[in-house]
């Protein structure tokens, strides 16, 4: 089970090492589901290369494709990233209010130090 999971993670992370693939994922995250043609348009590489990148992302479980007539639409599939995202959310929830309080405390200390030096 552990090996199976780490093999999956290997694929996920290997898929993320490529800048073009990260750019594709970033667009999918920002814009929602878009067609293969729309994905290819702003990229400087040719369509077969785009399809190859999409294949890598799909086998890593990071995207899913659906077909309506002749149009193939791609959407992001965040499941493999969920443990990482859950960790981030947990600690953001923990630290953000504490660092706010740290700031308020340090600012009060600063005001006190200035009053003293007057």
């Amino acid at each position: 089970m552990v090996n199976y999971q780490s093999a999956n993670l290997d694929r996920t992370f290997a898929a993320l090492t490529d800048a073009t693939r990260r750019a594709i994922l970033a667009r999918l995250e920002a814009e929602g589901p878009i067609t293969v043609g729309d994905i290819a348009r702003p990229l400087t590489i040719k369509l077969p290369a785009v399809l190859k990148h999409l294949g890598v992302l799909e086998s890593a479980g990071l995207i899913a494709r659906s077909k309506a007539g002749r149009t193939v639409t791609i959407c992001i599939e965040p499941a493999p990233m969920k443990p990482a995202l859950a960790w981030l959310r947990k600690y953001e929830h923990f630290w953000a209010p504490r660092l706010d309080r740290l700031a308020r405390f340090a600012e009060a200390q600063e005001r006190a130090a200035r009053r003293k030096s007057k």
């Binding site: 552990v2 780490s6 290997d10 992370f13 290997a14 993320l16 090492t17 990260r22 990233m81 990482a84 995202l85 960790w87 981030l88 600690y91 953001e92 630290w95 953000a96 209010p97 504490r98 660092l99 309080r101 740290l102 700031a103 308020r104 405390f105 340090a106 600012e107 200390q109 600063e110 130090a113």
Partner: protein, 144 residues
Amino acid sequence: MSSLTIVKTIAARPEIVFDALIEPEGLRKWIGPDDGPVLIAESDGRVGGKFRLRFKMLDGSEHEARGEYLEVERPSKLAMTWQWQNHDDRTVSRIEVTLRGVAQGTELTFTHSQLPSDEERDEHREGWNGALEKLGRTLGGRKG
């Protein structure tokens, strides 16, 4: 590995922010939950020194974290390990804080990173840790 980064500008000089981060009296003021008390705030603020923080939530549950200071460079840099004592997840993570003097006071950059386990360290190739770190930074950087 995941990595959360929060950047804040604080209207206080770096020395004051640094001391608030590391001295027990300072930690006591901000490390607890909003309405719950800090029960223990121990901190030996030197390289190799340990800290121990315990606080109580409104629901009555108590939480304790411990760690060791890895880098202590007043007033610009602080790094330490972080480990929950009474949670399911007892993996050791790493916190790094850098403080930079700016016109308004201090720019604080706080990063809490998951560390790979020993197995992962052995298995994993360089490269995709970096890729994930970038991803983590982007996600964490949106707020704060």
